[in-house]
């Protein structure tokens, strides 16, 4: 069991840094949700910051790639994501086509590099 989860310390980190930070906002929504207007300016700012944080995470994975992704050259990682985005826009925002397109460019590029 200890190999499966890791030690109790790892689980504690998960609760403190993963579970509670998310659950707090959900439960606050449940408790105080009645009084907030969905179109309010505060929520526009919150959404913009949340979107920008997510964008930062995407950039982090591309700029400082983890594990096996680090074996793909920089230009090919950026190129593949740009190609996926182009495919997404050209197909009236099909996420499926965009993801498959980006993956094919990356795999094709690696194959071509040998």
């Amino acid at each position: 069991m200890s190999d499966f989860i890791g030690d109790w310390h790892a689980l504690l980190v998960l609760v403190i840094a993963g579970f509670l930070p998310n659950e707090v906002w959900r439960m606050l929504g449940l408790w105080f949700g009645g009084g907030v207007d969905e179109g309010s300016e505060l929520l526009v700012w919150v959404r913009a910051v949340a979107t920008a944080i997510l964008a930062g995470v995407i950039a982090q994975i591309l700029v400082l790639p983890p594990g096996a992704l680090a074996s793909v050259p920089d230009w090919l990682r950026y190129g593949a994501v740009a190609a996926g985005f182009a495919a997404f826009m050209l197909t009236r925002r099909s996420i499926f086509v965009g993801v498959v397109g980006g993956e094919l460019v990356m795999l094709g590029g690696k194959w071509w590099l040998g």
């Binding site: 840094a17 993963g18 998310n22 913009a48 920008a52 993801v99």
Partner: protein, 245 residues
């Protein structure tokens, strides 16, 4: 596969409403996106040396893909627990408006707050989008049971994908391992781009992508937080300024 009409006997028991919720998992393309995302999360957890049990627990307890990626990548790159907790807390603020906007669709005069606790835990971007699409087709007094089915169904899909991604990253040749890790940024970028509703959202996405590489040169340990709050605030500022025009 369409849901039965509102007056159908199919909706008479909460158990059947739960089953319809679970079946609705198969009716949306977002399930596929979620599957790809969690394949990526499983692979990311493997390559940053977390255990399988830990990442499965994170899928069930955290239940928010972006937060899990932030958690795994910040901890994996050597940030402290406090730094990771701050970054995840800020990223999770977006759950608040989702909860606030979806719960009124499920309340009846008899609903107690405790009936909504599990539903509230399940709220994340995919469930939120699907609730807004599907709940109007479900009788009001069955909506909680229906959402429980939908949430548990999606959770099972994500747990399977996490396990599969973890296993694949451990056993695949590096090329395919890289392909699975690339699923995460692709799926997040495109699903976020699709959810952009106004100028401030688009600007936040573009500025957030552009600012992070610059801020990361500072090596503060909270780079994502700094670039996210600055980019988001600039995007909001532009929105505010244009509204005043």
């Amino acid at each position: 596969m369409p849901l039965p009409p509102l007056d159908s006997p199919n909706w008479q028991s909460p158990v059947r409403a739960f089953a319809w919720g679970m079946r609705s998992v198969a009716s949306t393309v977002l399930t596929l996106v979620l599957f790809a995302t969690y394949l990526g999360i499983g692979a990311l957890a493997h390559d940053t040396h977390f255990s399988l049990g830990w990442v499965l627990a994170s899928t069930a307890l955290v239940w928010a893909g972006p937060a899990q990626i932030i958690l795994i990548s910040t901890l994996g790159s050597g940030a402290t627990v406090v730094q990771a907790a701050i970054a995840v807390t800020v990223s999770a603020i977006r759950l608040f408006p989702m909860v606030v906007s979806v719960l009124p669709m499920m309340r009846t005069p008899q609903t107690k707050r405790r009936h909504l606790v599990l539903v509230t835990h399940f709220i994340a971007v995919t469930l939120w989008v699907e609730c807004i699409r599907l709940l109007p087709q479900v009788p009001r007094e069955r909506r909680i049971a229906f959402t429980h089915g939908l949430g548990i169904g999606l959770c099972m899909v994500c747990l399977s994908a996490t396990t599969l991604g973890y296993g694949l990253a451990a056993n695949l040749p590096p090329l395919l391992g890289a392909a699975i890790l690339l699923l995460t940024p692709l799926a997040f970028l495109l699903s976020t781009a699709r959810n952009c509703r106004q100028l401030s959202d688009i600007l936040a996405l573009v500025l957030g992508l552009a600012l992070y590489p610059l801020v990361s040169l500072l090596h503060t340990g909270v780079d994502i937080l700094i670039s996210g709050i600055s980019a988001g605030t600039i995007a909001y500022g532009v929105h505010w300024w244009r509204e005043r025009e």
